[in-house]
């Protein structure tokens, strides 16, 4: 039996919302970056599902690029976390208010 396309869309929507809520409710910067990874994976699921259903390879190529950007984001993000931890000895988002109005 074929799986309807909407199942994949619902799955990716649930994972994406989990990532959004994770960004909003956690105080640890590492977990916030992990939630961003969740959101990226949700969009990737969507891309691959549509690529399969429309028989168009462009969606999979786009996932490939999203993966590249995710790798770059993780490298820079973790470097920023290490720099922040050196200056404040904490990775709690509540304590970084320099850019707050």
């Amino acid at each position: 039996m074929a799986i309807p396309l909407s199942y994949y869309v619902i799955l990716s929507a649930i994972v994406f919302i989990t990532g959004v809520v994770g960004v909003l409710i956690r105080r640890n910067i590492i977990i916030i970056l992990l939630s961003v990874e969740l959101m990226l994976n949700a969009t990737n699921i969507n891309f691959v599902a549509y690529s399969y259903y429309f028989q168009n390879i462009a969606g999979q190529v786009f996932v490939f690029f999203a993966l590249t950007v995710a790798a770059a984001e993780v490298a820079v993000g973790l470097a920023i976390i290490i720099a922040l931890y050196r200056s404040r000895s904490s990775i709690n988002v509540d304590e970084f208010q320099l850019l707050k109005w």
Binding site: G22, I25, I31, I45, A49, Y52, A58, A71, V74, A79
Partner: protein, 170 residues
């Protein structure tokens, strides 16, 4: 059978995604994300994206999560005992969006869903990896080069940010 596999993979993906957000210890969150990445790779295999499944396991599970684990263990963070004070607002927003998605999902008729493509069409004749490689080096050659530039910039940026006294030693 395919539906059973989808339900298993989707259930584990949603469960581990919730655990990533809910668990207090960062190491458990990272390991739960690892399980999720493997099941997403399984989902890619059922969607005939074998190349992406392999890349998902190698790059995400092999490289990115190891980087996360390094940082978690390097910083030696104590487990945090409470969530952000804006938890009620975040939970409320999440609930609103979930209800919206579920309403939209159950409003759809079956006739709106696009029909299944016939099996064994264009992308499957020569194999998934060959197709992606062919398209990547012809149609998407310029974005491919730009991606390499992004990786170079990210590498230099990470080194500059994480090195302690880059400019004070001279």
């Amino acid at each position: 059978m395919g539906l059973f596999f989808f339900y298993y993979l989707a259930g584990v993906i949603i469960l581990t995604a919730l655990l990533v957000v809910a668990l207090r210890n960062p190491i458990y969150s990272v390991l739960s994300l690892l399980i999720m990445f493997f099941h997403v790779a399984g989902l890619y295999v059922t969607l005939h994206a074998e190349f992406l499944a392999a890349v998902q396991v190698i790059v995400y599970a092999g490289a990115i999560l190891v980087l996360y684990l390094f940082v978690v263990m390097l910083l030696n963070v104590k487990r945090e005992d409470r969530y952000h004070p804006q938890l009620p607002i975040g939970a409320f927003l999440g609930l609103v969006i979930v209800t919206e998605v579920l309403l939209l999902a159950f409003q759809r008729r079956e006739s709106d869903v696009p029909p299944m493509p016939p099996p064994g069409s264009v992308a499957q004749v020569v194999g998934n990896t060959e197709t992606i490689g062919d398209v990547l080096y012809t149609t998407y050659l310029f974005p491919f080069e730009v991606a390499s530039l992004i990786l170079l910039v990210a590498m230099i940026g990470a080194i500059v940010l994480a090195k302690r006294d880059l400019f004070e030693q001279q």
